[in-house]
């Protein structure tokens, strides 16, 4: 699946849409930036609640092309601006990291179809 396939699915709201479309082969779920730095792969999508511009900086340095912010955390304007500068896609969802990771894993491993946004989703808010 590609970055553009994320938009409008998994209950994701597109926050920053100016990105280089790329193939997504896996995801990395972490709120520790050094952990992301050391372990994430360069075609991963990053699933996190860490909504600040240092997250974009780390994503840019390791080559991550898209970031999903979970639990509907507020996203600061300067994070959006630096994601635009770096060409990194930014999405937000009310779902938790667990829910998003599970759904994405299922799709990437051919266990389910891409869930549509209008499908009922568990919302803990």
């Amino acid at each position: 699946m590609k970055t553009s396939d994320l938009a409008g699915h998994f209950g994701l709201e597109t926050i920053q849409a100016e990105f280089t479309d790329a193939e997504i082969s896996a995801g990395y779920t972490s709120d520790l930036l050094s952990d992301v730095m050391g372990k994430a792969g360069d075609s991963d999508v990053l699933i996190t609640i860490q909504a600040h511009k240092n997250t974009v900086a780390v994503a840019g340095l390791v080559g991550i092309g898209s970031v999903i912010i979970c639990n509907a955390r507020p996203i600061p304007d300067d994070m959006i601006a630096s994601a635009r500068e770096e060409g990194i896609a930014l999405f937000r969802t009310p779902l938790s990291q667990f829910e998003v990771s599970g759904q994405l894993y299922a799709v990437l491993h051919g266990l389910s179809a891409i869930p549509r946004s209008d499908a009922p989703v568990a919302n803990r808010a």
């Binding site: 520790l32 930036l33 952990d35 050391g38 511009k53 300067d78």
Partner: protein, 318 residues
């Protein structure tokens, strides 16, 4: 819901006067915040919250249970409640729940960049146990800064002297190097943290370096740069690319590492809670930097500062 008049505080946290930078990095949120809090209980009716705002001339009321912050009722929430005929409803039913908070140990730069970054006009401040300790607004910051700047200007007027001459890079070194860059870092300057590493990455790309090499250099550089921002009182990041070798030198002026072996152990960290809340301080920084490099050396002692050197070898074109 940003006001038509910008609420931005016109202080540049990136460049600008060294004196002002020193002030906003040395003042803590707790030095600036208001401690006399006007709060309401979750079951207070909105009508009562409205009266609190009017009587005290404030535009936001934290909703608390004991010292625990549950949410905040802003003028916007109040207007919505009036519109929807919910003025008799409880504060809990009408408040904003997703509240961005500051911690009292954070440097003032955080409060300034939060005001510029989010649309909120006030930020509740929590102590290290997560209890509500105060609230901070743009007016609080401006008042404190004016007083501090006045004091600083008076001190400077008393001791005006010629500025130190800038250091000049060694010309012969630079002639041979394919790349030679140097950047300053400041303690707790998270707004600019990572810029030096991003510049290194850009420069290596321009040199058509292999992507794997660039990634390793970027990782090592970022970890060392963040270490300076989190732990040191400021430092310098230097990069030299020459003869098939990328050298990254991170040099800071203190306080130094007491137990170097522990600092190199994965999971060991001396970072405090709010630094951890930003996703740093996992105790992976130095181990990550070491793993990314072909060679790694660290020289540090308490009171002396720390110098870390990472080198990465790359294949020269035949």
């Amino acid at each position: 819901m940003r006001d038509s008049i910008s609420m931005d505080i016109p202080i540049n946290t990136e460049g600008g006067s060294r004196v002002v930078l020193d002030l906003i990095y040395s003042l803590k949120v707790r030095d600036v915040m208001t401690r006399q809090l006007i709060t309401a209980a979750p079951d207070s009716p909105m009508r009562e919250v409205q009266k609190l705002m009017r009587d005290n001339g404030i535009t936001g009321v934290p909703i608390v249970e004991g010292s625990r912050l549950l949410g905040i009722v802003s003028i916007g929430d109040l207007l919505l409640a009036l519109d929807d005929g919910r003025i008799s409803s409880s504060a809990e039913a009408c408040m904003s729940r997703s509240v961005v908070t500051l911690e009292e140990e954070m440097p003032l730069t955080f409060a300034i960049s939060y005001l510029n970054r989010y649309q909120f006009r006030r930020f509740p401040v929590l102590d290290k146990n997560g209890a509500l300790a105060g609230i901070i607004t743009a007016a609080d910051i401006i008042k404190t800064l004016l007083v501090a700047m006045n004091r600083e200007v008076e001190r400077l007027e008393a001791t005006i002297r010629a500025p130190a001459s800038p250091t000049v890079a060694n010309a012969s070194d630079e002639a041979e190097a394919a790349l030679s860059l140097s950047f300053n870092t400041y303690q707790f300057d998270f707004d600019n943290a990572g810029k030096a590493s991003a510049e290194l990455k850009k420069a290596l790309r321009n040199l058509k370096m292999d992507p794997t090499i660039i990634r390793r250099a970027a990782i090592a550089s970022y970890e060392l740069e963040l270490n300076q921002v989190i732990h040191s009182s400021g430092g310098v990041m230097e990069y030299i690319v020459r003869d098939g070798r990328i050298t990254i030198v991170a040099r800071d002026s203190g306080p130094g590492i007491a137990d170097v072996a522990a600092a190199l152990t994965e999971g060991f960290s001396t970072a405090n809670n709010w630094i951890r809340s930003l996703g740093f301080g996992a105790g992976l920084g130095l181990p990550n930097a070491k793993r990314a490099g072909d060679d790694f050396s660290l020289d540090s002692a308490p009171g002396r500062g720390t110098t870390v050197c990472v080198t990465i070898n790359y294949a020269l074109p035949a």
